[in-house]
Amino acid sequence: MEYFIQQLINGLTLGGIYALIALGYTMVYGVIQLINFAHGEFFAAGGYMGVILLSYFSGLGYMETYPVFCLTTSFALSMAYCAYMAIGVEKIAYKPLRKESRLAALLSALGMSIFLSNGLMLTQGVYDKAYPSELFQGGFNLGGMVTISYLQILIVSITGTLLVGLNILVFKTKIGMAMRATAQDKTMSALVSISSNRIISLTFAIGAGLAAAAGIMVGLYYGSVRYDMGFVPGIKAFAAAVLGGIGNITGAMVGGLIIGMVEIFGAGYLSGEYKDVFAFIILIAVLYFKPTGIMGENIDDTRV
């Protein structure tokens, strides 16, 4: 039972991270029906910005005196950086292809993904980059074997805050309403003077910002980042987005949590080596019985 609770905590942490990445996929898909393969690279870039800024602050010696300030600034700046990156990427690689076949945009996205991850490699080096290690040692003991580290509390609380914030933004504000309108029908929303270009940029920016936050948290959690770290979580987060029903924001959160839980429980109870397989098997099984995902609506005949 203790083991179960421990795994539940771990699964919640990982699932939250997947959910954050999945949101970017699902929001972009909702607006322009594109699988943004470069999204995993935004996540990796966020992780890198996190390590760059945190080590910069610890080099200045601020880490000991103002830890909260350093952490908040790092998060905010990394998210802003990735948002900035995503807006440019969208303008360069996706916008001119909006009228073309979806495969062309997909390949452009793949090219962008290769380009960005190699750009990260060239500027930051091939080897792992370690996060400052003095951060967040220790944790609470919840009795018996169950511990929840400070880092996990931080991750879960930041994830929760971001998810709630996003929900408020999308479902309660005017901008969110404009986003939903654009996702439903670009022409009609343009008629009521919603600039679809601006909304698409905003969507990319928000998605990349969330991915950047996830990147820093993964970096903190595992202690280091690598230039190709975006790929596997990217695929899994995309699987999570599809699992929840692509284009659906709540679905992406649920899907992320499910994929994270399945991975942790599969690794814990069945086999560590096949942990990636379980996530995909769940995905295939769910899609077999409900081809539109858990919360997805019926998409009409979208073809290649």
């Binding site: 090219g111 081809p291 539109t292 998409i299």
Partner: protein, 407 residues
């Protein structure tokens, strides 16, 4: 020329400034708490200089300043067309075939090696073309079937000593079965759901190859796969056969060539057959196809199986060629690469795919001198190609009146 420049310079300047903002945090913030600008500006300056050259040519071309280059090229193209016309297509195919036959005699080992790669990828690309280009189903895990084919030969050969020519049909068969296994549950899905499920299957196959130690020797791969062998009649001391191991790259090239030609003929015939028409109708409109009496379930499964079959054959050749297989060769990036070849060349068009394969195999080889920059340039080229020719290098001609319509 000035006009064209006026149109574009603002976008270009904004783009370059964006890049500067992107580069500086990566290069200018140091862990010892210092900020520098020197390195950022150097790197940025190089990129600026490089892109300015391209911008110059682009603007000059748009403004008609390069007519002294483009006009002769157009002239050459026209005279080639005039030259080509009098002879029927088969003459040119024959010429191409002859060039392919004498190619390894004229070039060295390295060039032959690259050519074998090209031939195997042509087979792969054509197989994927059946799934994506003809039947219109996006497959992101295609390389898994290649892996199944390669491992079929490697395992059967190393563990049980089965020869290549027995394994080749078996590799095709196993890959076909794998294709049906993937195809069966995914047939209900459409569009991007299909894409992610195939991607998932591809990853599952790779992870299984990576972890099933007893069968596949895990990440270490299988060493010591035997090369292709053929029986040669020997007339000394009466009549008998001798086993001849095709270790020399030149000989292996011909087997790969035979495979590629077989694939080209097969896909070409399939395309214009009843089955090919059925696939195309599914691609264009699945519901309408079903109404017209096309059994979409069978045909989609068949498309998967056919694509997988070709990949399996190519896989067996790959294993015999490398004489070593490991899960590293069958990652998602490879699937993406094959898909790029198909889309870059022009979906559904056989000459297009061959050109796409050439481009994507030869380009990284040419860029080998740039070492670590080559994947960066590769990614950038992909984006630029898609921006300027989104329908592919040689777009497929569509049959019927609807070809002028745009969706």
């Amino acid at each position: 020329m000035i006009q064209e420049f006026n149109k574009i310079w603002k976008k270009y300047a904004i783009g370059m400034l964006w890049l500067l903002g992107l580069l500086w945090p990566l290069l200018g913030i140091h862990p010892d708490g210092t900020l520098t600008f020197q390195k950022t500006f150097t790197v940025w300056g190089y990129i600026l200089a490089g892109t300015l050259v391209f911008l110059f040519f682009y603007v000059a071309n748009q403004g008609g300043q390069l007519k002294f280059v483009t006009t002769p090229i157009d002239g050459v193209r026209k005279s080639i067309q005039v030259l080509v016309k009098p002879f029927p297509t088969w003459v040119w195919l024959l010429v191409l075939f002859l060039i392919a036959v004498i190619y390894p005699q004229m070039t060295g080992r390295y060039a032959t090696d690259v050519a074998i790669n090209v031939l195997l990828y042509i087979c792969l690309g054509l197989g994927l073309n059946v799934v994506v280009g003809l039947a219109g189903m996006l497959d992101l895990g295609y390389i898994a079937f290649y892996g199944v084919g390669a491992y079929t030969y490697a395992v059967l050969n190393v563990s049980y000593g089965v020869g290549f020519w027995v394994c080749l049909p078996l590799a095709g068969a196993f890959a076909t079965v794998a294709g049906c296994i993937v195809g069966f549950p995914t047939l209900r899905m459409r569009g991007d759901y299909l894409a992610i499920v195939t991607l998932g299957f591809g990853e599952i196959v790779r992870i299984i190859l990576n972890n099933w130690m007893e069968l596949t020797n895990g990440p270490n791969g299988i060493l010591g796969v035997k090369p292709v062998s053929i029986l040669i009649p020997v007339f000394e001391n009466g009549f008998s056969f001798e086993i001849f191991w095709v270790k020399k790259l030149q000989f292996f090239y011909y087997f790969a060539l035979a495979l590629a030609i077989l694939a080209i003929i097969a896909v070409n015939r399939l395309h214009s057959s009843r089955i090919g028409r059925a696939w195309e109708s599914i691609r264009e409109d699945e519901t309408a196809a079903e109404l017209m009496g096309v059994n979409t379930f069978i045909y989609k499964l068949l498309a998967y199986a056919t694509g997988a079959f070709f990949a399996g054959l190519a896989g067996a050749f790959f294993a015999a060629r490398m004489r070593f297989v490991s899960p590293e060769s069958f990652t998602f990036l490879e699937s993406a690469m094959v898909l790029c070849m198909v889309v870059l060349g022009g979906m559904g068009s056989i000459p297009g795919i061959i050109l796409g394969v050439f481009a994507l195999i030869v380009l990284p080889e040419v860029l080998r001198d740039f070492q670590s920059y080559r994947m960066l340039i590769f990614g950038a080229t992909m984006i630029i190609m898609m921006l300027f020719r989104p329908a592919g290098l040689i777009p497929a001609k569509r049959v019927g009146k609807r070809s002028e319509e745009k969706e």
